[in-house]
């Protein structure tokens, strides 16, 4: 086993495990199960396709897809061929060309409605020093777009030899719901954990409580990794009472701060289910974590590859498997390798509790909203001269998006709100559309509002 630098055959260990469990269910997709044998066959086809298209080791390849047997097979094939993969889920509405440009993508693979591949070549050289370094090392890579305090998403580059190392240790074989997609560090982690322990990846047709609960019941899922917002909506909808969820053993929640009231309700609704808080970042991967108890928000994070410390009430982490760096921003690491997560925590001995993140990003139901992106869209609406997008806490989704606008000519706020919303709906996914629109009355208000945004310490 190679624990250090580049492996000649990345993922050979994983493919061996697939062979050993060839008859087991690997992926449930559109009400059909594919076995590890079938997945291996598809991986073989995907590798042939890469070869016939001349895709070389170290090439940067964008994989535009949601979870399906074809997309999972292609992801494994791309890693096995030591390319640098840039997964993008189909729901991502950001400018794909811009993201592709940041990651210096030279090839894109899309998966169409019939679960078939469409390969496109883009004439673009790879020039970024980090990409060149990874190519030279010969290791497979992963680019994930992460939150940043500026408007543009940051591209994090990982050496997959490091990130995938921890999966070589065998753990529980589990049937997992894939709630988060694979362009999210949590979704990627869930997928790799499940595959490396020859568990079953259960894909979802939709992410509403009814569909998720029905899928858990139908396919006897054991683990549900999800967000506090989803859990809150599920409790409200009562969907968990309409389906037999007795197969469920673990609910993992992450991506935003969990309110104690929701956790208590959840514990009451699922007394036998282990409720665990996960913690991870695109920059560092997912840490091992342990909740003090199922109804407690106190958690221990770390694991063998991670060191933690608290500075100024904020959590700092040093990870062996951290990213190589950003492709479009300066390195965030200190000289000795520490990363400030900007997550504010309370401390009780070895336990910590998350209070929120210090940044301008708005977390709406676990989805990230960059105020600048929404502001740019609102500025396209006629009669708008200025806009500042901020947030307000809301019990359904943690936060809601609020826009404060200034107009050139006086206009009725109701009419203006309608126009802004309609335009935003045509350009942005629903979670980014402002729920409230306010009219600014003077310049001072604008200044206060902006100041408030940059110093906002409320939970994300």
């Amino acid at each position: 086993m190679n624990w250090g630098g580049a492996t000649a055959r990345p993922l050979a260990w994983l493919l061996e495990r697939f062979e050993a469990h060839a008859k087991d269910e690997a992926v449930i997709w559109r009400d059909r199960a594919a076995t590890y044998r079938q997945l291996l066959d598809r991986i073989g086809e995907a590798r042939e396709l890469l070869k016939s298209n001349g895709v070389r080791r170290g090439e940067v390849v964008l994989l535009d897809a949601d979870f399906s047997p074809a997309s999972i097979a292609m992801l494994v094939a791309l890693i096995a061929e030591a390319t640098i993969v840039v997964p993008l889920a189909a729901h991502v509405t950001a400018d794909r060309d811009e993201l592709g440009e940041i990651a210096q993508v030279g090839r894109s693979i899309e998966i169409n409605d019939r679960d078939q591949y469409e390969v496109r070549t883009i004439d673009r050289p790879t020039a970024h020093p980090l990409l060149l370094r990874l190519q030279k090392e010969g290791s497979p890579g992963l680019v994930l777009f992460s939150s940043g305090s500026s408007g543009r998403p940051k591209a994090t580059l990982h050496n997959l030899d490091f990130l995938l190392n921890k999966f070589k240790v065998e753990r529980h074989t589990q049937r997992m719901i894939t709630f988060l997609l694979f362009d999210h560090i949590g979704g990627f982690n869930t997928l790799m954990y499940t595959l490396s322990n020859h568990g079953c990846v259960i894909t979802l047709e939709a992410r509403d409580p009814e569909t998720v609960c029905r899928t858990i019941a139908e396919y006897r899922a054991e683990v549900l990794p999800t967000s506090p917002t989803f859990l809150r909506l599920m409790l409200m909808s009562g969907a968990h009472r309409r389906h037999d969820l007795s197969s469920l053993k673990v609910i993992n929640y992450a991506t935003e701060v969990m309110p104690q009231a929701i956790l208590s309700q959840l514990h009451e609704a699922f007394p036998k289910v282990d409720l665990r808080q996960s913690y991870g970042l695109s920059e560092l991967g997912i840490l091992r974590s342990q909740s003090r108890s199922s109804d407690s928000l106190w958690v221990k994070v770390g694991g063998e590859d991670y060191q933690t410390r608290i500075v100024d009430g904020q959590l700092h982490i040093k990870a062996r498997s951290s990213m190589m760096g950003y492709l479009n921003a300066p390195s965030p690491f200190t000289d000795d390798g520490w990363f400030n997560t900007q997550d504010e925590v309370e401390v009780d001995g070895e336990w910590i509790r998350f209070k929120g993140r210090r940044s301008s990003i708005i977390n709406v139901g676990g989805e990230k909203v960059y105020p600048e992106e929404v502001e740019a869209v609102i500025l396209e609406v006629s009669n708008i001269s200025d806009v500042t997008v901020g947030k307000e806490p809301h019990p359904f989704t943690g936060n809601i998006v609020v826009a404060q606008v200034r107009t050139r000519e006086p206009e009725d706020l109701k009419e203006l709100t309608k126009r802004i919303r309609a335009h935003c709906f045509s350009k942005l996914p629903a979670f980014k559309v402002p729920v409230k629109v306010r009219m600014e009355e003077s310049d001072q208000v604008s200044e206060r509002f902006k100041k408030k945004r940059s110093q906002d310490h409320s939970p994300t």
Partner: protein
């Protein structure tokens, strides 16, 4: 006094506005579900409708009720399940506010 019909028409107006802006087809009447598998309204849509309705109610009746609160969210029968249920819940909060 806030009549049930008046509240219902305010809420239906909010659902109609949301449907128009979001470009979704919703058949709007008393039984329109706002939550769950049969609902054409997604979770963000529900947030918009509830927030809009709250603002309209408070403006119309010069009140300060909060519809999206923790106790409403933990009720066994969600007050957000349908147009009728949410109308009823808003009426109840207005009566309680007046009595307080």
């Amino acid at each position: 006094m806030a009549s049930h019909e008046r509240l219902k028409s305010l809420l239906m107006e909010c659902v109609r506005e949301y449907a128009e802006q979001a470009g979704v087809q919703v058949k709007i009447d008393e039984n329109t579900p706002l939550l769950g598998a049969d609902s054409a309204v997604d979770s963000l849509g529900l947030v918009m409708i509830v927030t809009g309705f709250e603002a309209k109610v408070n403006e119309t009746f010069d009140s300060g009720i909060v519809l999206a609160n923790e106790s409403a969210m933990s009720m066994r029968r969600s007050p957000f399940r349908s147009v009728a249920a949410l109308t009823e819940y808003a009426g109840q909060l207005l009566r309680e506010a007046k009595a307080a």
